[in-house]
């Protein structure tokens, strides 16, 4: 059978002769078809009684015809998804040094408390009088975030980091408009090394983007920023510690220069985990910074979300925070859901999302904070930085460091200078790490470094784990330099699947399963 694209539609077809087994399975690695290939339209894994006859009120809107969705019984469902899970690498599987992404341990206590019915089974629009504990969680989380960042306000509702960026930049835009400069201040400065979300966010809300060049030492220099400043500049979006893993040494001067020019300083807080309890953005002149609760405070990444991106705000931006928020006055807290209900002096710029944000993530992050305490959070930052520098020290003689003059913070950045002439690329090296049982580091980011390899071990790794990782990367580095090319260029050899043809996926997009058609029809 072939599908419309004329490629195998049954898992295992076309590859069976390359396997030693009849099934194509390799013991624990099972080939698992799609639910559409194993389920049936009449099957279901739920038992729901048919209702007694009644007069329907759907009017002329009743659905006609099939939906076209298969169902699976409960045992089939369980087995399908367990088998899929076995094709995934997680933090619980092994070291996950994905730079900038902060893959630290996800405590199961946090999962447990987030599922308490008073948090998971409450509705965002049930009477406020029935959810005082939910408001307490939000206030407590806000207190921790404001204390850790040294900032006077926080907007909790953004749903992820990029959404937080949008929230912070909207607050800046509202503040600029309030000063009557909305028509003129429309340029946002973004360093070349920034996350792609920064320029995308600025553009999303109507700013134009100007690039700040990176210095040879991986930092942003205040002179370069000053050279771009003018009455048209609204803000700078600067990541700190930056995407090269370096604490921006001139951050205070840059903030001052922005303020002097009547502009704002948005800090991308994706790397806040390096400095929790060590430095406060509020002391550095930051006006707005999002915090990825799923990075710094370990609410799980879950294969790509859900995240949460609360934004701390300076005194100047606080009045523009979006609804909803909790207003505390005279010891009493009040949920403000509409502009018109905002207390005197507040001018919310609008609303980011339908409800109150990521409550499930708030509870997890708060559990993390309560567990660590102020001492544990400081220690976690120090250990994360220590671990990154330990890896750097263990590899610096074999792999090349683009910015040797600054200590690394929570992540160590290497380039591909050391691979020159070996025929092995950064991608090949990353894929060979998969064979050795590791998730690769972040590769080809930041863009300012050629063939970048960004390694973030986090504080969750033991010394023994780091030693083994360093030894493995040393073995691989020596092999790469020693003409053992095929180990890399054809890697991974031992993953559930080999290197995938991404070009083909983009050229002929197949974005959903289609019922296979016989070969002769497909050819017509």
């Amino acid at each position: 059978m072939l599908n419309r694209q004329g490629r195998p539609s049954q898992a295992g077809e076309g590859a069976s002769e390359r396997h030693e087994t009849f099934t194509g399975n390799r013991a624990l690695q099972q080939i698992e078809p799609l639910i559409f290939e194993i389920g049936h339209h009449e099957s279901t894994g739920v038992d729901i009684d048919k209702p007694a006859p009644f007069k329907n009120r759907l009017g002329k809107h009743a659905r006609q015809g099939e939906i076209g969705l298969p169902g699976l019984s409960e045992p089939e469902t369980m087995r399908h998804y367990v088998r899929l899970s076995q094709k995934n690498y997680g933090i619980d599987t092994g070291l996950f040094p994905l730079g900038s992404c902060t893959m630290k341990h996800n405590a199961r206590l946090n999962e447990k408390v987030a599922r308490l019915p008073g948090f998971s089974d409450v509705h965002p629009l049930q009477p406020v009088s029935t959810v005082p504990g939910a408001l307490d969680v939000m206030l407590e989380l806000a207190h921790y975030l404001m204390t850790l960042t040294g900032m006077p306000a926080v907007a909790l509702s953004p749903k992820a980091g990029a959404h937080g960026e949008a929230c912070g930049m909207m607050a800046i835009k509202a503040a600029i408009a309030a000063k009557g400069e909305g028509a003129t201040r429309n340029v946002v400065l973004v360093p070349e090394s920034a996350h792609g979300t920064n320029p995308a966010t600025a553009a999303l809300i109507g700013f134009s983007v100007k690039s700040v060049p990176a210095r040879d030492d991986g930092t942003v220099a205040v002179e370069d920023v000053k050279a771009l400043l003018g009455p048209d500049v609204a803000a700078i979006m600067l990541t700190n510690p930056n995407t090269c893993g370096i604490f921006e040494p001139q951050i205070v001067e840059i903030a001052a220069a922005m303020h002097e020019a009547g502009a704002y300083f948005y800090c991308d807080g994706a790397n806040f985990n390096a400095i929790v309890g060590k430095a406060r953005p509020g002391d550095l002149g930051v006006d707005a910074m999002h915090i990825n609760l799923h990075k710094t405070f370990s609410t799980p990444h879950g294969g790509g979300g859900p995240g949460a991106g609360p934004v701390v705000l300076s005194e100047r931006l606080a009045p523009y925070a979006p609804v909803p928020f909790i207003h505390v006055e005279g010891g009493k807290s009040r949920l403000v859901e509409h502009k018109a209900d905002a207390p005197e002096g507040n001018d919310p710029f609008g609303r980011m999302t339908a409800f109150h944000g990521q409550m499930g993530m708030y509870v997890r992050a708060l559990a993390y904070m309560l567990s660590h305490g102020s001492d544990g959070m400081k220690q976690a930052s120090e250990d994360a930085v220590l671990n990154a520098n330990y890896i750097r020290a263990g590899l610096a003689d074999l792999m090349s460091l683009p910015f040797p003059d600054h200590p690394s913070m929570h992540e160590a950045l290497f380039d591909d200078e050391w691979l020159k002439g070996t025929g092995v690329s950064t991608l090949d090296f990353a894929k060979a790490m998969i064979d050795e049982g590791y998730h690769p580091m972040t590769v080809y980011f930041p863009l300012v470094v050629h063939g970048a390899m960004l390694i973030e071990p986090t504080e969750s790794e033991s010394k023994a784990s780091l030693d083994l990782f360093i030894a493995t990367l040393r073995d691989l580095a020596i092999a790469a330099k020693g003409n053992d090319k095929s180990r890399f260029t054809a890697a991974p050899h031992h993953a559930p699947i080999r290197r995938l043809d991404e070009t083909r996926a983009a050229r002929q997009p197949v974005l959903k399963w289609e019922k296979p058609v016989p070969v002769k029809d497909a050819a017509e």
Binding site: G118, Q126, A162, G196, N389, P492, P496
Partner: protein
């Protein structure tokens, strides 16, 4: 500290290997005087037992939906989620994985994203679906931006049946981007003349069905008029279970479909995390926001899945990207897709039938209460009551009697003359006893 594996001896050995005297030497780039020496003024570390106690107390202060007769909807719905779902999404390999940037060791995530996209496309009747947005409201705002890119126009018309919070989210983003929004006034009885608002300057029309008041809307005439003027129809739903019973937007020629997927697989969570569903006609895929998972082959010709068409996305296109979205709703997607797999078409159709049957029973019971009018001609599992007293007061009085009766429309949009309207949802979790208690209490409160 139980989460930190390094010992003091380890730390000393490691500092020696790095060649610095202490850990603060690694923070030497922090400007003078800005490095904190002492822990901040927050409580010290706590054991698991103590943390659980603190949060347990806070949780106990809230009234859980499952503990009372519960009829609150208006964008989020209480449904039964099979135990299998929560077990599976807590598997380490799903819970603790990242966005599948290394497809060879993320086929689990990628395959379920592909299954999810196929399910969403089938449910909505659309050609393609993406791998999720944050929620229905942010998805709606992104759909409007997408329509602007497709039509090269910058004016959106929003139906008065659109959830007022969704309207606000669209208005906020549009105002920032200097795009125009025409939001029609709240339309309780689905009688607005949205066709009159469509002309050649309009980029898109945004219509919700079932709408925020529960009315089912006929989308086809709106699609036809929009298309005649070169505009797109964006269809929105907040209750995905309705698609088991009503004509999907794809069958009514919608161009983009956005929905809240929370009802399937996901808990109420006081508003988040949820999962935004996003589908479109395939000719628009290159203008879609968010991640897309596609099928391909590996070096041995075996089928596999990868994230694809990423030249639309922020990490490649930066300020030219179709959206700034990065992290989305991965684990909520997984919960959705597992629950939908358990249901299948047979289970979903039955679930929808039970929801509708229960809502009809409740509407019939409440229509008999003095001071109550059911305003809807048609509805799925949610409808609106016109009450003889302000709904906000009624809801508080009902809560005092231990019944969470619904959402006063005035809470969603104050000052719009909606004070006597109560939006009531009824799903499979409500029993005949719940409905009888509702009718009894409402009779007392309105007396």
């Amino acid at each position: 500290m139980r989460y930190l594996p390094l010992t003091e001896t380890d730390r000393e050995d490691m500092l020696a290997r790095i060649g610095v005297p202490d850990v603060d030497a690694l923070f030497s780039d922090v400007p003078n005087g800005k490095l904190l020496r002492e822990p901040l003024d927050l409580p010290r570390a706590k054991g698991e037992l103590e943390v659980e106690r603190i949060l347990g107390k806070l949780s106990a202060k809230n009234t859980a939906a499952g503990a009372v007769p519960f009829f609150v909807g208006a964008g989020a719905y209480k449904h039964h989620v099979p135990a299998t779902v929560d077990h599976l999404i807590q598997r380490s390999e799903f819970l603790t994985s990242y966005t599948p940037y290394q497809p060879e060791i993320a086929q689990g995530t990628l395959q379920y994203l592909f299954e999810f996209q196929t399910q969403v496309a089938a449910l909505t009747g659309m050609e393609v679906a993406n791998a999720s947005m944050y929620d229905g409201s942010t998805g709606t705002a992104e759909a409007v931006l997408m329509a602007h890119r497709v039509t090269r126009r910058r004016k959106a018309v929003l139906s008065g049946g659109l959830h007022p919070h969704y309207t606000q989210v669209v208005e906020t983003l549009s105002e920032m981007a200097s795009d125009e929004v025409v939001a029609l006034k709240p339309d309780v009885r689905a009688t607005e003349d949205i066709l009159a608002a469509i002309d050649d300057s309009v980029s898109c029309v945004v219509v919700q069905s079932p709408d925020v008041f529960g009315n089912l809307r006929d989308l086809r005439p709106i699609a036809d008029k929009a298309h005649a003027h070169g505009a797109l129809l964006i269809a929105v739903f907040t209750e995905v279970v309705s698609l088991g019973a009503v004509t999907p937007p794809g069958a009514q020629d919608a161009d983009i479909v956005v929905g809240e997927g929370q009802s399937i697989g996901n808990a109420l969570n006081f508003g988040g995390p949820y999962v935004g569903l996003f589908a479109a006609k395939s000719k628009y895929i290159r203008q879609m926001p968010g991640r897309l998972c596609g099928e391909t082959v590996d070096a041995d010709g075996r089928r596999g899945f990868v994230l694809t068409l990423s030249t639309r996305e922020q990490h490649i296109r930066r300020d030219k990207a179709t959206s700034n979205i990065c992290t989305n709703s991965g684990l909520c997607v997984l919960a959705f897709t597992i629950h939908m797999t358990l249901l299948g078409q047979a289970g979903l159709t039955r679930l929808a039938e039970v929801n509708h049957a229960n809502a009809v029973k409740l509407a019939d019971a409440l229509a008999g209460v003095k001071g109550v009018e059911v305003v809807n001609e048609s509805f799925f599992n949610e409808f609106t009551l016109k009450l003889s007293k302000p709904a906000a007061e009624v809801v508080e009085a009902m809560a005092a009697k231990g019944i969470l009766a619904g959402v006063p429309a005035s809470r969603l949009k104050p000052g719009a003359g909606l004070d006597d309207l109560l939006i009531v949802a009824n799903t499979e979790v409500n029993t005949d006893e719940d409905r009888a208690a509702f009718a009894r209490a409402l009779t007392e409160v309105l007396a």
